[in-house]
Point group: C2
Chain length 207, copies 2
DNA sequence: GTATTTCCGTACCGCTCGGTACAAAAGAAC
DNA sequence: GTTCTTTTGTACCGAGCGGTACGGAAATAC
């Protein structure tokens, strides 16, 4: 089924990528339609025809961000052991937060942990999407328990939460301009914490 | 020297506390003057006479927040050992982030990790103020090295950075509604990581 | 008392915000 | 070529933004 009528003159995904950078840098409320349309190279009516409204655009941007920019997180879940899952997640997260050709930090945090009264739906949406990732991680660790990779008395959700917390802290730090090398030091400490808590080499944490 | 002229009818600190809650909940840009003056119980001209403008009000609010709401951080620095410093900092931070009578999370993060083009000074200011706290912590750990409390080959700034990262991650999590008990689990894991990295019981992290 | 100083409330400013009406333009269908 | 459908650019909308002019009100100074 071919499309009738005048074809649109811009590529949707490319426009989303341009909008993504603006939201990433300035947050949902800090990104004005003027700046968005300027970066996307289109006019406002084209934006509204293609994406509904500003919130619709943002949600599609976040979906694309999850698909493209956070592919490493899904790859990490495919690692064979919980230890390797955590190592890849922490390491690749630091890389993703400090890419020289993108805004520093993470769209999911920069987008807006706090919003005006009328935009609480946005911060709730972002919080829910972060929580979804954390739950996927918890599910992966629960599988590791089933497989005998992790000890049976470990709490998968607590481990996932800890890694999620570190990830978000790194996002805040990266957005403040902290360089990759310094975040790697922090990730290394966090990874050893994970190992100790998960495999119980020297503590009873997370049990 | 008594003050001449009509005395102001509101208490400055109380007004700052009311404004603090609004900024805390909605961020710098998400807090409108209408909502601020409504919460403060004053009119706009009174606000501008007392605090200059919105940015001036915000900076005074942040200063008061550091004085009042983050007193626990300074108290933590006075603990006798690095281990106790970290334990108190992580524990009290979780408590502060989840007070039932205040907005969840931390003003320094909620205030705005990302702002519009015209308000980059705000996010920079907040990032710098967080970094100042991290540096105070690093200085405290450097003292611990001097005192023989921490091993001489440990990196005080890396330890401080890790704790700061966890703190910020907890702030993001708390703002998303994660309850105190769950943050305490995460803080416990982080504390054991700190201990391992600092006192070198089972790793060479942060060296 | 009067003069002076400061604060308060109303009413307003220019500006930018997100969002849209409308007609010209550009392709597909036949 | 004509018709139909969809997109594009311009020009505009009401509303809310941060910020302020101004006159009346409330205190001190003398």
């Amino acid at each position: 089924m071919t499309q009738t009528g005048r074809p649109r003159e811009f590529d949707t995904d490319q426009a989303l990528d341009r909008a993504m950078e603006v939201f990433w840098r300035h947050g949902y409320e800090g990104a004005s339609l003027t700046e968005l349309t300027g970066a996307m190279g289109i006019n406002k009516p084209s934006l509204y025809a293609a994406f509904g409204n500003k919130e619709g655009l943002f949600r599609k941007v976040v979906a694309r961000y999850a698909d493209v920019e956070m592919a490493y997180a899904r790859d990490a879940l495919d690692q064979p052991t919980a230890q390797q899952v955590a190592a890849m997640l922490l390491g690749e997260n630091v890389v993703a937060l400090t890419q020289p050709d993108r805004p520093a930090g993470c769209l999911s945090v920069q987008g807006g942990t706090a919003c005006g009264t009328e935009n609480t739906a946005i911060s709730n949406f972002l919080a829910a999407s972060r929580l979804t990732g954390e739950q996927a991680l918890a599910t992966r660790f629960a599988r590791a328990v089933d497989e005998g990779d992790l000890p049976p008395d470990v709490d998968p959700t607590a481990l996932a939460r800890f890694l999620s917390v570190v990830t978000e802290g790194h996002a805040v730090h990266a957005a403040a301009g902290v360089p990759r090398s310094q975040l790697e030091q922090s990730a290394e400490i966090a990874l050893r914490a994970f190992t100790a808590a998960a495999y119980g080499t020297s503590s009873a944490a997370a049990r």
